[in-house]
């Protein structure tokens, strides 16, 4: 399980023993490229096993429960707070132009297109991605993955694919719930506290939010879900089979997921303009 190591030698050192910054930078770049390649190859293998994995839907359902249902409380709580903050900030801003009735529209668009998918993915990476990664990593460290291999059961099909699919299905659902609760939070501030007319709040939202916006949010959350789940199962599957190795892999999962989600968000937003 060490074949994913970068294919080049150790970082060359300067004569005074310090790592030369140029070669260090080159080595980091090479590492990154090698990693992208390794993840892509793993994705191909994983996708090949996703259809056979559908034969056992109960495994996938269990993972949707694990990754999705167990993140529900934290997602709803965060959605509520984000919605309430949007309500306060939006009201402050819109009031200056005398258009506080547009609050419903602003909050809904912000949540559905941007904050819902992004924050859900970040929370998912922290809550479910880490547990996916450490779970698979520990199974590797305790020879359970090897035992499956020896029983002629592909661990990618039996362990990795259900977890990946579970995450892929759970994130869009969680993002939708996040956005709904968020809109409720904004309504709580705007209508209940700031006395915007409920009718205008909702009708403005209804006329401004189209199917296109919902689709944008949906596509984003599917992509983010795939990215976060893929990174988590990749890191877990390739973790060094030691306690330290699993810990490091878990940390890497969160960090790379967060960066990747924000990067993908920028690219997708630009593409949807």
């Amino acid at each position: 399980m060490h074949e994913h190591k970068a294919p080049h030698g150790p970082i060359p050192r300067r004569r005074d023993g310090r790592v030369s910054s140029l070669s260090q930078r080159r080595s980091i770049a090479l590492d990154a490229v090698a990693k992208v390649g390794a993840v892509a190859l793993f994705l191909v293998r994983l996708l090949g096993q996703c259809i056979p994995a559908l034969v056992r839907p109960q495994l996938i359902i269990r993972q949707i429960y694990n990754a999705g249902a167990r993140s529900l409380v934290i997602i709803m709580l965060c959605g509520l707070f984000v919605g309430m903050v949007l309500g306060l900030q939006g009201y402050q801003l819109l009031q200056r132009f005398g258009s506080e009735s547009a609050l419903g529209m602003a909050a809904a668009l912000g949540l559905i297109k941007e904050l819902g998918p992004v924050l859900t993915a970040l929370l998912f990476a922290g809550r479910a991605g880490t547990s996916l990664c450490s779970e698979i990593g520990l199974m590797g460290a305790t020879d359970q993955l090897a035992a499956m291999e020896m029983m002629a059961v592909d661990p990618v099909r039996h362990v990795v694919a259900p977890r990946f699919l579970g995450g892929l299905i759970a994130v869009p659902l969680l993002a939708a719930i996040f956005s709904c609760v968020g809109i409720y939070g904004a309504q709580l501030i705007g209508v209940t506290m700031m006395r915007i007319q409920a009718g205008t709040f909702w009708s403005q939202m209804q006329s401004a939010v189209g199917l296109r916006d919902v689709n944008e949010g949906l596509i984003k959350s599917v992509v983010f879900g795939a990215a976060c789940s893929l990174l988590a199962v990749y890191e877990g599957f390739h973790a060094e089979p030691t306690a330290e190795g699993v810990g490091l892999a878990t940390t890497r999962t969160v960090v790379t997921s967060a960066v990747l989600v924000l990067l993908l968000d920028y690219m997708l937003t630009a593409a949807f303009l």
């Binding site: 359970q144 090897a146 035992a147 499956m148 020896m150 029983m151 002629a152 592909d154």
Partner: protein
């Protein structure tokens, strides 16, 4: 000896992990329907040898053939087909921790067969009964002792009635009663079902009682082979040393290291 009667053949295998050479030209044959014992000091690579046979790692040089097929050249699917014919008992059990004892033993059946639930249940309970753990069927692996876990792993290894069974140190951590039961189990599986068996073990006495052939590995090679009786009669000093268990002799007890005295005297800052 007809070639068809050889289930596993290892020819001139060289294998190194990093710079550490583990096998330097290993040769071995496992006859169909025989119990083959593999003995050797700790760290000689007995577990590594089993990995090579199961196709989990690939030798840098030499050939490993199992059921007449070269393991190194097999695709994943063919390799899996081959592994379905072999039961492997891991040195540490390697039970799936999220499944109960019953489900662990049922796992290979659920994956590879379409048996109706009552039949599957009967089969699993039968295998658990053989290892004396039918009462523990509903426990989780975390609730088992080390020896119990290994017996569950054994039940799992035999549940498919494989053509060949590979045991990696089946007697470690077992009390004398379970040890006796497992020895008799290995023997009866072999005699009644004709299961070819490879047993890796240090227990010279237990294994000598049941093995047909035995190999003594040391320093990356086969140091001695033959029936256990022949091995016991062997006059080479190194073989005698292992069979009688003394640290001083040609077989090193220590992992390769610089001179002990020099290392103790050496200053860290020197």
């Amino acid at each position: 000896m007809i070639d068809d009667d050889i289930v596993v053949e290892v020819r001139g295998v060289h294998y190194a992990i990093g710079t550490h050479a583990i096998f330097k030209g290993l040769n071995m044959r496992v006859r169909r329907g025989a119990i083959t014992a593999v003995m050797g000091p700790s760290g000689t690579g007995k577990t590594t040898l089993l990995r090579l046979i199961m196709g989990q790692s690939v030798a840098q040089r030499g050939h490993v053939t199992v059921f007449g097929k070269e393991v190194a050249g097999l695709e994943r699917r063919e390799l899996y087909k081959l592994r379905q014919r072999v039961g492997l008992l891991f040195q540490n059990g390697a039970l799936l921790t999220d499944l109960s004892v019953f489900e662990n033993v049922a796992f290979p059946l659920r994956e590879h067969t379409d048996l109706p639930e009552p039949v599957l249940r009967e089969l699993v309970l039968m295998k658990l009964q053989t290892v004396g753990l039918r009462g523990a069927a509903e426990l989780m692996p975390a609730e088992l002792s080390g020896g119990m876990a290994r017996r569950v792993a054994l039940a799992r290894a035999i549940v498919m009635d494989p053509e060949m069974l590979i045991y990696d140190e089946p007697f470690v951590g077992l009390d004398p009663i379970s040890k006796g039961v497992i020895v008799r189990l290995i023997q009866s599986l072999n005699r009644l079902l004709g299961t070819t068996s490879i047993v890796v073990s240090h227990d010279v006495r237990e294994i000598s009682a049941i093995a047909d052939d035995s190999y003594l590995l040391a320093e990356g090679k086969v140091m001695a082979e033959g029936s256990p009786a022949e091995l016991c009669k062997e006059q080479t000093e190194s073989v005698r040393q292992f069979m009688s268990g003394t640290p001083d002799g040609p077989v090193p007890f220590h992992y390769p290291a610089p001179d002990y005295f020099e290392q103790l005297l050496a200053r860290p800052d020197a």
